[in-house]
């Protein structure tokens, strides 16, 4: 599903966020991505969502070489993804319902269909009663769950979540992880970037640990690599 080949990303000023990163994630896999802040997790997710291009190397998702996609193809590629952003990226002037329905509107789905699917997604994150609220009226955790509902509403092929449980209490975090696991069970590939090592440890999934833009062989520990 995802294949990185010698991928490096250097920003202006010389900072190398990723250096010669290579790994592969199979279709239907669920993978955790861990590492200190600044280890390159967010950069990696930006490459996978085609927000940024690698400085060198190749990123291949679902057979497509992301660097070769034109604007229109990027748009259609992104429709296959469900992305949970760390800073939520909600439309602040629109209701919760409008926010969650956005991916379906963009794809030109039928209104009747949209309503049913938005309600289903909001139900899954426990926000059905909040559909008419504006994001500003919600707590940080609730906003995050709106973002999650928006990511899963279209039953994407690939879910990319950046700190999806960052603002949630442990019980809710478990629920959200269970939701991602449910999607994984029906074949969705899931990548979750997270700091929550306790939560990751309890769940039995592959863990990719990033440190200074490189993949660590040993799983990430809070004290950093031992070498």
């Amino acid at each position: 599903m995802i294949q990185l080949d010698q991928v490096s990303k250097r920003y202006d000023g010389g900072f190398e966020a990723l250096s010669s990163l290579s790994f592969q994630i199979e279709r239907g896999e669920m993978v955790f991505l861990t590492g200190h802040s600044g280890a390159g997790k967010s950069t990696l997710l930006k490459l996978l969502t085609a927000i940024e291009r690698p400085s060198s190397g190749q990123v291949r998702v679902a057979g497509a070489l992301l660097a070769k996609l034109n604007r229109r193809e990027i748009a259609f590629y992104r429709r296959k993804l469900g992305v949970v952003h760390q800073d939520h990226l909600l439309l602040m002037d629109n209701s919760v319902y409008d926010n969650v329905s956005q991916p379906l509107l963009v794809a030109g789905e039928h209104p009747a269909d949209i309503k049913r699917r938005v309600h289903a997604a909001l139900d899954k994150v426990g926000l059905l009663s909040r559909e008419k609220f504006k994001p500003i009226q919600l707590s940080g955790g609730e906003q995050q769950r709106v973002g999650i509902a928006r990511a899963v509403v279209k039953k994407p092929e690939l879910i990319l979540a950046d700190e999806p449980t960052g603002n949630l209490d442990p019980a809710l975090s478990r629920d959200i992880m269970a939701l991602f696991a449910q999607f994984n069970d029906i074949g969705t590939t899931v990548i979750i970037a997270s700091h929550d090592l306790g939560l990751i440890a309890r769940l039995n999934y592959r863990v990719l640990s990033l440190h200074q833009g490189k993949l660590l062989d040993a799983p990430f520990t809070p004290s950093g690599p031992q070498s």
């Binding site: 070769k68 996609l69 602040m92």
Partner: protein, 323 residues
């Protein structure tokens, strides 16, 4: 869908073929964007009015010049009848031959009318003028008979052909052409016309800039929203749509306002013009836009506004490309 421009691997091409756009969803989005952008304008009446009034004034100026030019054109076409060609006939030509020639010429399509002036008639009118001021008495009538030809051609080349033909007539001894001043007037009008065209072009560019800037501000205020829906897989066309409709409404309102302004100005000037021209014994031409001119004004306004919006969007969407 754009494929085949760049050479790509077969697998890449196949897997990334963009699915067909659901036509109903497309239609619904058009409806939604058009209604929402119009409501947006209505909800901010003052700030939107400032924009479409500027558009209206920019469109009004060249249109007024155009109307003035059309009115002058209509007037000179009436005056063209005053442009005459006088044929002085051979002294030996008889009166029946003269009237016959006059009648024959009058039947030609390029000639509006002719008038035969006999030797005697010319002599009488000449004496009437002269005898008042002098005691000049002539024994014999020295004046030739003449035919006054009023052509109905406006084309210069046609007139020249006509003149050549008249010169070659057997009974015609001399020809006097009274058209030079019309030619000068036509030249002046040609110049005025190209000034109007240049002015229209400049003001069209102004409208592009005005609408472009307004749309740029609208884009700026919805930058976060655009970023988000692009991440959710919106195509450029989807992002553009509400802003293009905004441009369309600005153009439509600006065009309509320009038309109303022109009507008001015409109404004001028509009576003044009528009384002014009446002093010269002339009837005033209508200074209104006809239906097709009105439609041209509106479509030009809309097209130029859309162009402005499109340019602003092009600049912004280029910035959303992956870095």
């Amino acid at each position: 869908m754009r494929l085949g421009k760049k050479k790509r691997s077969a697998s890449n091409r196949q897997r990334n073929r963009a699915p067909r756009v659901d036509i109903q969803g497309w239609y619904r989005h058009h409806l939604k964007c058009s209604v929402e952008s119009l409501l947006g304008l209505v909800r901010q009446p003052i700030s939107s009015a400032l924009t479409w009034l500027v558009i209206a004034i920019a469109l009004m100026l060249p249109t007024l010049f155009y109307i003035a030019l059309q009115a002058m054109n209509a007037q000179t076409q009436a005056w063209q009848a005053g442009g005459q060609i006088t044929l002085y006939l051979d002294r030996n030509a008889t009166q029946p031959a003269g009237t016959e020639l006059s009648a024959m010429l009058a039947q030609r399509p390029e000639i509006e009318s002719t008038r035969y002036i006999s030797k005697e008639l010319a002599w009488q009118s000449f004496r009437k003028v002269m005898s008042v001021q002098s005691d000049l008495e002539l024994a014999a009538n020295p004046l030739p008979a003449s035919i006054v030809v009023v052509p109905n051609q406006q084309q210069r080349s046609d007139l020249e052909a006509l003149i050549l033909m008249l010169q070659d007539l057997p009974d015609v001894e001399d020809i006097q052409i009274d058209l030079a001043w019309i030619e000068r007037l036509n030249n002046a009008l040609d110049l005025a016309r190209s000034i109007v065209q240049m002015l229209s072009l400049i003001l069209a560019v102004a409208v592009v800039l005005i609408v472009g800037n307004t749309i740029r501000l609208a884009i700026e205020s919805r930058k976060a929203e655009i970023q988000i829906i692009k991440l959710l897989g919106a195509t450029d066309a989807f992002v553009r749509r509400p802003f293009l409709y905004l441009g369309l409404w600005y153009g439509l309102l600006g065009g309509l306002a320009a038309w109303l302004l022109i009507c008001a100005i015409s109404l004001y000037f028509q009576s003044q013009l009528t009384s002014f021209l009446a002093d010269y014994g002339l009837t005033a031409p209508a200074i209104w836009l006809n239906v097709s001119e009105f439609i041209i004004l509106l479509s030009a306004s809309i097209l130029v506004s859309l162009l402005g919006a499109r340019i602003a969007l092009w600049r912004h969407l280029k910035d959303t490309d992956p870095r």
